[in-house]
Symmetry: C2
Subunit: 254 residues, 2 copies
Amino acid sequence: MAAGSPLRAHDDLTPTLPPLSGEAARLLQLHAVSHKVRSGQEIVTAGRRCSAVFLIIEGMAVRYRMLRDGQRHILDILLPGDFADTVSCHFDKALYSIRMLTPAVVGPIPIQQFMDLFSTHPQLAARLFWQFSSDSAKLSERLIAVGRRPAKARVAYFLLELLVRLQAVGLADNCSYRLPLTQEMIGDALGLSVPYLNRVLHELRDDGLVQFRDQRVEITDFEELAALAEFEDAYLRPASLAASGRKPAWQGRA
Amino acid sequence: MAAGSPLRAHDDLTPTLPPLSGEAARLLQLHAVSHKVRSGQEIVTAGRRCSAVFLIIEGMAVRYRMLRDGQRHILDILLPGDFADTVSCHFDKALYSIRMLTPAVVGPIPIQQFMDLFSTHPQLAARLFWQFSSDSAKLSERLIAVGRRPAKARVAYFLLELLVRLQAVGLADNCSYRLPLTQEMIGDALGLSVPYLNRVLHELRDDGLVQFRDQRVEITDFEELAALAEFEDAYLRPASLAASGRKPAWQGRA
DNA sequence: ATCGTGCATTAATATATGTCAATATAATTG
DNA sequence: CAATTATATTGACATATATTAATGCACGAT
């Protein structure tokens, strides 16, 4: 089977737009403390104490856990604007590790300061709540996908979620984006072995739903793919809030 | 195979102790609005608007989603002290449904009021943060179990998590608890079919790790079971906080 | 008592997915 | 540019788990 060259890892993902993270970084005055980290660097290590939350300002990362038998499970893909590991700080030892997939810029926020954000930066409160909710929903949706859907649908769902999330931060165009993940990582995120995942990816391509060329994913038939995955993007979008008449501060002017 | 009578559904789970939920209910002055709901009643429906968070004061519930093909995926078991569905309120339509497994008492908190809790009840802030974190960790752990572990380990993990969580609210003794879940529900939570789950449950019993009699689960070999499931309960316990020297308000005197 | 219903149990069979191993291709290094 | 490594690809095979169906047991309703 003549192959494209899908999904190779790489180190040069440069954001085209400073997304929401820019605004948040400004609000939180993170310029002073934010710093670059190299691709592949681990900024949080499971089992070690972790006392700060990291705002991802640029770049991508994964949150994962190593199992005793050497398997790795990837729990999350972190994009610019995400707070990385708001969870681990609340435990004696970090529960998960975080590793950069690309060169990145992160802004550390000491946990105490982070927890005070609701009172010190009330404009951010609604946004923080929403991010917690959306993060939780993302995990729930993955759980459904992994627990209940066949491999093909799982992969479809995964590619679609990334499309929508990357679009939200200006890192994907209408139907394509750059993906710095190896097939092994996707497998580790979806609970699929690499050879099988590879076959499924090819099936999706042969069905004309997706294309992989160079290091990009291109969704060629969004509708079909969404139907296959039973994908609804509601959990990735803030409520319209029209119903309740209010408008969150963080959607107003900066 | 001579059988016990494991895991039948029932409607009479009465808490032996008023757990944390009691304190929280007091703090939030929920007596006036809290009310009883019958077993089997749905208090949040996926797809319908949801404008309040429910504190579970007594009883148990499940958070779940129906899929198009009629399958149901159970995302969470809710126990006394849990805030049910802090997520759905943040979206136009509830993403998940919540249904009582037992007769219960719940205290509704309008979403706006809930979001204001950080400023109006600062004593609760740390606890709220911790609950968000723990909820998120619970989902992550389930994701790992479902994505990466064989059926036997999944079930082991599930039974252990419930033991520890129920202990924390005084609804389990040293090694046993009442479980108002059918095998179908456990299957729907772990992504396993009922016949297979049944076999696995029997294997666990034959291995001498667990026993099911009457409507109770009894963990007969915690160590072995925990090893099998690679289970660590850290994600269910608040940080000792010894390291940082602080003590959360909600652990102090009422 | 009798029936009906919900749930657990068991078996036979099908299938999705994993494992292992080999090869190819691209990326990286010296 | 050669050599080495990382990643993708393919195939043959093993197995965990689903599916379907049938049976049995408890319990509630009549």
